[in-house]
Amino acid sequence: MKNRRETFGPPEVVIRIDGLSKRFARQVIFTDLSLDVFRGEILGIVGASGGGKSVLLRCIAGLEPIRDGAIEIFGRDVDKLTRLEQLDMEARWGVLFQDGALFGALNVLQNIQVPMREHFDLPQNVMDELGYLKLAMVGLPGDAAHKYPSELSGGMRKRAGLARALALDPEIVFLDEPTSGLDPIGAAEFDALIAKLQRTLGLTVYMVTHDLDSIFGVCDRVAVLADRRIVRTGSPDELRSNPGHPWIRDYFCGERARAISA
C-alpha cells in the first residue's frame, strides 16, 4: 500500500498550494504556505489546535477567500474558474465535516442523494440503489437509510457524512478530524474504513487529524502545520525518527506517541 505510487511512475500532483497567505482581521493564519498533495495518497495534516488546519481545508475547498498565493486542484487555479467549471470541480471532490454536517431535514438516504440530484439527472430507482450501496460501503446497516441525522450516534453521522462525500465517487476526499469524538474502537474502524475505501475507489485522501493512531495506522505521508506554514512533510516514521522541529518532536516523541510505537 505504501508503495502504491511507484506503480504509476512519477507522482501526479492533484492539489498544489503555492505561497498561500491568509489572515483574519489582524490575526495572521498562514504566511507563504506551500504544500503538494499527490494522487492516491492518504495525507495527514497535523498541527496545534487553533493553528489553522481546518482553515487550510476550508481554503482548499473554496469556503474561505485567500489573500495571496495560489491553490491549484487538478492543475487548475481554483480562483480563476468560471461558475460552471467550479460546479464541475466540486463534483470531483467530497468533504466530510467534523460532525458530518448532514442536512437535518432529510433522512440519511436523501442526504446521500443530494449531490446526485444536484449534479446529474439519474432515475430515482438508480439513486436509491446507489444510496444503499454507499451506505453499505461505509458500513452502515440498511435500516439507517430512513433515519434522520438527529436519530444517529456521532459515529453513524460521520459514516453517513462520508457516504454523502463519496456519493459521486470523487477523486479527492477531505476529512476534517474524522476520528474525533469516536471511541477508540470506533476510531480504529473508521481508520480501516478510510484505508479500504481509498484502495477500492482509488481516492486521494486529505485528512486533518489529531489522532496519532490514525497517523501511524493509515497515513502515507504527514504534513506538519506549525508557525503558520507547512514546516515538514514526510512519512510518519521519518518524522518520528528525525523530527527537526520542536513541535514535531513534542508531538511524535511525546508520551502518547511512544505508547503507540511500543
Binding site: F120, V126, Y132, L133, G142, H146, R199, L201
Partner: protein, 392 residues
C-alpha cells in the same frame, strides 16, 4: 438451436455508446467500453433497460460481462454492470464478469458484496389516522403545557418567597441587565410602532365617523381604545416577540450546552438565578413601556388630527382630556404586569424545555412567541369580562 463450440458472432440490437452485446456460439457477452461512471449512468441505465436479450432462457447458454475495455469505472458504473449480471442470471443465463483489471476488480468485488442492501421505507399510515393521532397529540400536549405552566408558576412563587425572606440572594446585576435589555432597548421600536398605530387609528376613525358628522368623536375613540386595550396589547405583543423569544433562546442555549445542569451540580438554583431576575425585570419594564406606548399612540393620533384633519392642537388635547379618565388608564395599566408574568414565564419555561439539538431550540423559540402572544390575548379577554364587574 445453435450448436456448441461454433464461433458465430451475431450482432444484436444491443449497441450503445458504452457497450455492445455479442453472441458468440453459446456465449452471450456484453462488452463494456469507455467510461462507466456516474456521469454516464443515466444514459447507460436507459440503454441497459431497453436491451432485449436475443436468446431464450436456457442452461445451454452462458453469459459474460467483459470489462477489459472499460477505461474509467466508479461505483455507479460497477453497480450497473453488477445489475446486468444479476438480470441475465435471473433470466436463466448464468453470467459472470470477465477480463477485469486489478484496480477494477477490487471495486467490482466490493460492489457485488455490498449491493442489494435495499430496505423498503417504513410504511406511512392512513392519512385520516395520522390526522386523528396528530389532533390527539396536540390536545394532550395542550393539557401537559397547562400543567407545566401551573407547576412553573408554583415553583416561581416559592422561589420568590425565598428571595423575599433572604433578599441578599437576589441577583441584582442580572435584574438590572434584563431591565436594560427588555426595557431601555425596546423604547425605540415600541415608540415607533405605537406612533404609527395611533396615527392610523385616528385617521381611520375620523374617515368612518365623518359620514355621521361625528368626526370629533374619533378622538374619544382613540383615547379610550388606546388606554384600555391597544397600548397594552401592542406593547405586550412587541415585548413577547422581542424579549420572550430572547429568554427562550438564552436559557435554551444554556440548556443545550449543559450549563443548567452544571449550575445544579454547583448548588445554584436556575430558577433563582435565571428565571426570577427575568420575570421581575419584565414586571417592571412592561408597565413602563405600556405607558410610553399609550403616550406615543396619542402623539401619533394628535399628529394626524393636527396635520391631516386640520384640528387645532389645543382642541385635540381638550377633547382628549374630556374623553378619558383615570379609570381607563388604570384598566390598561393593571393588565401590564400580568402580561409581563405570562410572557416571562412562557419564555423561561420554553427555554427549559429545550433538548440537545439546535432544531429543538428553534422550535421552542417559535412556540414561546406563539404561546405568549396567545396567552396575553386570553388574559386580555378575561380582564375584559371581569373588570366591568368591578365597575372599571
Amino acid at each position: 438451436m445453435l450448436k456448441r463450440n461454433r464461433e458465430l458472432i451475431l450482432p444484436t440490437r444491443g449497441r450503445a455508446p458504452g457497450f455492445r452485446v455479442e453472441l458468440r456460439g453459446v456465449v452471450l457477452s456484453l462488452i463494456a467500453t469507455g467510461s462507466w461512471t456516474v456521469r454516464e449512468a443515466a444514459t447507460l441505465d436507459r440503454e441497459l433497460n431497453s436491451l432485449i436479450l436475443p436468446i431464450p432462457p436456457s442452461s445451454e447458454f452462458t453469459g459474460e460481462v467483459d470489462v477489459s475495455h472499460v477505461e474509467q469505472l466508479d461505483t455507479a458504473g460497477a453497480w450497473l454492470l453488477h445489475r446486468t449480471v444479476q438480470a441475465w442470471s435471473a433470466h436463466g443465463i448464468g453470467t459472470q464478469f470477465v477480463g477485469a483489471r486489478e484496480n477494477h476488480s477490487i471495486l467490482l468485488d466490493e460492489v457485488v458484496r455490498r449491493a442489494g442492501a435495499m430496505q423498503p421505507a417504513p410504511g406511512k399510515s392512513n392519512a385520516l389516522v395520522r390526522l386523528l393521532a396528530d389532533a390527539g397529540r396536540t390536545f394532550s400536549e395542550l393539557g401537559r403545557d397547562a400543567v407545566l405552566l401551573t407547576n412553573f408558576l408554583g415553583s416561581l412563587t416559592t422561589v420568590l418567597g425565598r428571595v423575599i425572606v433572604r433578599p441578599w440572594r437576589f441577583r441584582g446585576v442580572s435584574f438590572v441587565h434584563h431591565v436594560e435589555s427588555t426595557g431601555l432597548r425596546a423604547v425605540a421600536i415600541v415608540s415607533l410602532t405605537c406612533l404609527l398605530v395611533g396615527a392610523v387609528l385616528m385617521q381611520q376613525g375620523a374617515l368612518q365617523l365623518r359620514d355621521f358628522g361625528a368626526e370629533a368623536l374619533s378622538i374619544n375613540m382613540l383615547g379610550v381604545l388606546v388606554l384600555r386595550e391597544m397600548g397594552v396589547l401592542l406593547t405586550a405583543i412587541m415585548v413577547a416577540g422581542r424579549s420572550g423569544s430572547a429568554f427562550t433562546a438564552e436559557i435554551g442555549a444554556m440548556k443545550m450546552r449543559e450549563e443548567i445542569d452544571a449550575m445544579r451540580t454547583l448548588g445554584i438554583d436556575p430558577m433563582e438565578t435565571l428565571v426570577v431576575p427575568r420575570v421581575l425585570a419584565l414586571v417592571i419594564t412592561l408597565p413602563l413601556l405600556t405607558f410610553l406606548g399609550d403616550m406615543m399612540c396619542f402623539l401619533g393620533g394628535g399628529l394626524v388630527a393636527v396635520f391631516y384633519l386640520g384640528l387645532e392642537h389645543a382642541a385635540f388635547l381638550e377633547r382628549l382630556h374630556d374623553a378619558v379618565s383615570l379609570r381607563h388608564f388604570a384598566v390598561g395599566m393593571i393588565k401590564a404586569p400580568f402580561a409581563a408574568i405570562v410572557i416571562a414565564m412562557v419564555g423561561c419555561l420554553e427555554g427549559m424545555k429545550v433538548k440537545g439539538s439546535a432544531e429543538s431550540l428553534g422550535i421552542h423559540v417559535t412556540s414561546a412567541v406563539v404561546k405568549s402572544i396567545f396567552l396575553v390575548i386570553v388574559l386580555d379577554a378575561i380582564f375584559a369580562m371581569f373588570l366591568p364587574g368591578l365597575g372599571l
